[in-house]
Structure formats: C-alpha cells, structure tokens
C-alpha cells in the first residue's frame, strides 16, 4: 500500500443525509460547520481571559475547489490570523490574490473529526444564498465522499 493510500474500512466515522434528489441538484451537497480561530490560539487566549467567536455557517462540499474558501466577513468576525496571500482563479476567469487565514473547522452534531488548524482563503462567494463557505479538496483528501444523485443522498466517511 502506497503512502497516503487509505482503505475505506479504516474510516470509522460515517455521516449520511438525504436532502432529496431535487434539493441536492439545486443546492449541491452542503453541511453545517463551525468556523473559529485555531485551537492553539483558542487555548492560549482562553488561559488569559480572551474570548473568541465561533460562526455557524452552511458550507458547500465542492470537489471543484482546490482549497477551502470562506466569505471575508467570516475572517473578520472570527478574528482569524492572516498567514499569506494566495492566487485564485475562478471558473468565470476572475483571478486575483486573496488573503489566506488560519482557522479551525468543526462539524456540529456529527462525529466528523475537527480540523484544529487549517488554511482558508477569504474570497467573496457571491450570488449564493445557500452557503458562505466552500469545503475544498484540502479537506476532502481526508474523507470518502459518495454523491448518490438518483437517490438524493450524500455520504461522508472520515
């Protein structure tokens, strides 16, 4: 078995939901997530009395996104630390350099493992009323995703 190879039976957490076929077609597979400052900052800050805000948002599971994207307002509200600028190109050809932040992402009411420190890029997700975050392939590389269009089901294993 090559390095990085993962056998599905080793993935212990399973999450399945059924939005129905039409809703899945219209909105895509999305999931509620909590975005906050990284776990190391949270723990260090809490020890000296600082408080941090967690934001609960809808996130689209987007196999077309090479990394995870948030609306810029989320970075401001959660006071995320900026760690870089990243170059982004979108399907419409829009290109630019956008701020990258370190964040924590968790999945409320599920057993999916948290991401305590993960890079997210703040890029406006426009004309979307369903979600304000794109879960990209940087997170998907840890998951097994099954999209069942005919039955309107989505399954995640992690």
């Amino acid at each position: 078995m090559g390095r990085g190879t993962c056998l599905p039976h080793l993935l212990k957490v399973r999450l399945k939901w059924r939005p129905n076929s039409s809703k899945l077609l219209l909105e895509g597979p999305h999931i509620e997530i909590l975005v906050s400052t990284t776990r190391p900052e949270f723990e260090e800050g809490r020890a000296i009395g600082l408080e941090y805000q967690e934001l609960r948002v809808h996130a689209l599971i987007d196999t077309g996104a090479s990394l995870t994207v948030i609306n810029p307002q989320i970075a401001t509200t959660c006071k995320l630390l900026q760690t870089d600028w990243n170059r982004i190109t979108t399907v419409g050809g829009m290109a630019g350099s956008y701020p990258a932040y370190a964040a924590a992402i968790s999945f409320p009411e599920t057993d999916l493992p948290n991401f305590d420190v993960i890079r997210v890029v703040a890029c406006p997700i426009i004309e979307q009323r369903f979600f304000s975050c794109l879960i990209g392939r940087d997170i998907l590389r840890k998951w097994l995703l099954t999209y069942d269009g005919p039955n309107g089901e989505v399954e995640l294993k992690a």
């Binding site: 990284t38 996104a65 090479s66 982004i88 956008y98």
Partner: protein, 77 residues
C-alpha cells in the same frame, strides 16, 4: 491583493529575497517568517502555524508559506 493592503509585505519581501536559496535546501517545506525574522521550516501547515504563533504571539499576523519554485494558482470551480 488590493494595492492599499500592506499586510505581510515585509514578510513577503524576506521570502522573495531567500526563495532561490530555499529551493535547494527546503523545497516543499513551510517557512515561518515574523517581520524580518525567519523563524524556521516545518513539514506541514499545522506545525508551522504553532511555531509562528509561539514566535509572534496572539493577534499578530505572520507569513506561513510553502517553498515552491512558482507560486501556485488555486482553481475554484
């Protein structure tokens, strides 16, 4: 980046000054830079972030960038 936004400009300048040297010594690693100071290299984003946080302190931005020959362009479809 917006021309008026100078966030991490000092750190990015340090990165560019050392990029060629690091391509042979630290290709693929994550470098942490706080101000003009190079803190170190790490194999992954999380360990690099912890080192940067420890050096910079809470609430201060720092550069955390993987060493590549060319800056990657990420596609969002």
């Amino acid at each position: 980046m917006p021309p008026e936004d100078r966030t991490l400009q000092e750190e990015l300048q340090v990165f560019e000054e050392h990029r060629h040297e690091w391509l042979s010594s630290n290709l693929g690693e994550f470098v942490v830079i706080v101000g003009s100071k190079v803190i170190g290299f790490h194999p992954d984003y999380e360990s690099a972030f912890k080192a940067g946080l420890s050096a910079a302190g809470l609430g201060k931005n720092f550069l955390l960038r993987q060493v590549w020959a060319e800056e990657p362009v990420y596609l969002i479809y």
